[in-house]
Symmetry: C2
Subunit: 68 residues, 2 copies
Amino acid sequence: MKNKVKELRFQQAMKQQELAEKVGATRQTISLIEKGEYNPSLKLCLAICYALSKTLDEVFWIGEDEDE
Amino acid sequence: MKNKVKELRFQQAMKQQELAEKVGATRQTISLIEKGEYNPSLKLCLAICYALSKTLDEVFWIGEDEDE
DNA sequence: AAATAACGTAATATATATTTTACTTTAAGG
DNA sequence: CCTTAAAGTAAAATATATATTACGTTATTT
């Protein structure tokens, strides 16, 4: 369940804590999502996209083959 | 949690049952997702995208404002 | 090198997505 | 009409995402 959250968060100099607060989640949840060890809900994915000013494809899209 | 699953499924003349089997879920789950009463997991969203040959943005993207 | 901020991570608890079973409703074809 | 396939829906059970609490690790600053 790979994604670009960490990378994009860094580009915007945002801390896990900040992102967590923006999306109404916990720092731990963000951490696990960034590590790709979580299967987040669509709602949380969308919240993260809004917080990072990106779309779903830009943050969470993974080609069918490279999946996992 | 609006989306375009139903619309796209119709365009491809696919039954809920077929889609459910392709993505490894239940017909009921597909039904509720189509009705927008569910908050599906990213994994399931991706599976649905693959089954419909679409990307996340094409199926599940909702602008920040029109969000529910 | 100590102190502190930021992040990794683990255990348990809670909320909720998903399944299972089953019944109803709707639509299409004979 | 009658039959049947397809879809809506509901209750209970199960799986799993997320929160909470807490502690370890890494990096940064002084």
